[in-house]
Assembly symmetry: C2
Homo-oligomer: 208 residues x 2
């Protein structure tokens, strides 16, 4: 089993390589990738070695080839249909984030319970539906991932609906630990953990 930090780093290599490709760069090295992410070059080589042989020692990597291999590893060579569940401040900010479309994550559905929001347009072609229409809408739009941005008190009930409707993955922004069945994957996002990493770095720089 590949450790989770390795997968997270590979997703970051994906972002850096995409930037290189957009700038027309054809070759790169583990040293260059490592410098962009402030890690050691040996870490880059170790991470990639989980997935077979890439590039030749001393010659570096072909950007295009490495990028397409990483897309296959992460499953991001194809489009993923996703739904925003809970269209409050956070749900709205997430749905308009340009990096989603750029990475082939297409928002195809959105849900809420607030009467003022239901039936309004969130994005071109995406009308906010009532949460009770989840099952029908999933069949119609065929989304496999839900971004959960409902208020905390609704998190588990809404998750139960998603699991019952056959969701494959949930990106959970609520501070609630979700209970799901074996076949569903949950990934939690909590920027407070990043804030604590920041405080650690600030006090380390200042010399304890």
């Amino acid at each position: 089993k590949v450790p989770k930090p390795t997968i997270k780093r590979i997703a970051m290599y994906n972002r850096f390589l995409t930037q290189l490709k957009e700038e027309g760069v054809e070759k790169t090295s583990s040293k260059e990738i490592a410098e962009a992410l402030n890690i050691k070059a040996s870490q880059v080589r170790k991470d990639l070695s989980y997935f077979g042989e890439f590039g030749k020692r001393g010659v570096g990597y072909n950007v295009e080839k490495l990028l397409s291999k990483i897309h296959i590893i992460l499953g991001t060579e194809r489009v993923w249909n996703i739904a925003i569940v809970g269209v409050g401040n956070l749900g709205k900010a997430i749905s308009h984030y340009p990096e989603l479309e750029k990475n082939k994550f297409r928002i195809v559905a959105a849900f809420d319970v607030d009467k003022r929001k239901v039936n309004s347009v969130l994005l071109p072609g995406v009308v906010i539906k009532h949460i009770n229409e989840l099952k029908d809408e999933m069949k119609k739009t065929n989304f496999e991932i839900a971004i959960l941005t409902v208020s905390s008190n609704a998190a588990q009930t809404v998750t139960d609906l998603l699991v019952e409707a056959g969701i494959k993955g949930i990106l959970n922004f609520t501070p609630v630990t979700l209970n799901v069945s074996e076949d569903v994957v949950v990934e939690n996002v909590d920027f407070v953990v990043s804030l604590k990493t920041l405080t650690y770095e600030i006090i380390s720089k200042a010399g304890r």
Copy 2:
């Protein structure tokens, strides 16, 4: 130097131990912490070993003691004053997130350029100021961390103002790679990296 994934995990142990303390649990073990985070118990022991001896082998850890040691490691035993810079959808959602106050991160200032938002109240005691008042406001409210949630095209200019005013750390939500001076720490938050980890887990479960 302690690896960054170790610091991230220690921040997550902090969250789990806080939950245990709230439930009145006095003792825990590396096995119990590991299960909550879906990692190996040896990883927990290895992470903590960077910072000296904790708990006795076979006896486990005292929750209260371990929690206070982790607070000292992360620098979270005290209150940190922070500012929200850019009060759009994302800035608003972040400022109302209850986990901030719970973890002693206090929002003391907020900035924007939109005339409709400047001088309005974001939170009790926090009025949104114009970005031009950054320096004066930082002296008055003494914030050390800025949460950057401005539109992408303003990210670097606003960062330059923050660095000049003496900011210590920036939590960057924009997709722009920020240039800062040596003494400033930047931590980037990008949920798209989490989405790619999610797709990896979904295709791994489905068996390639």
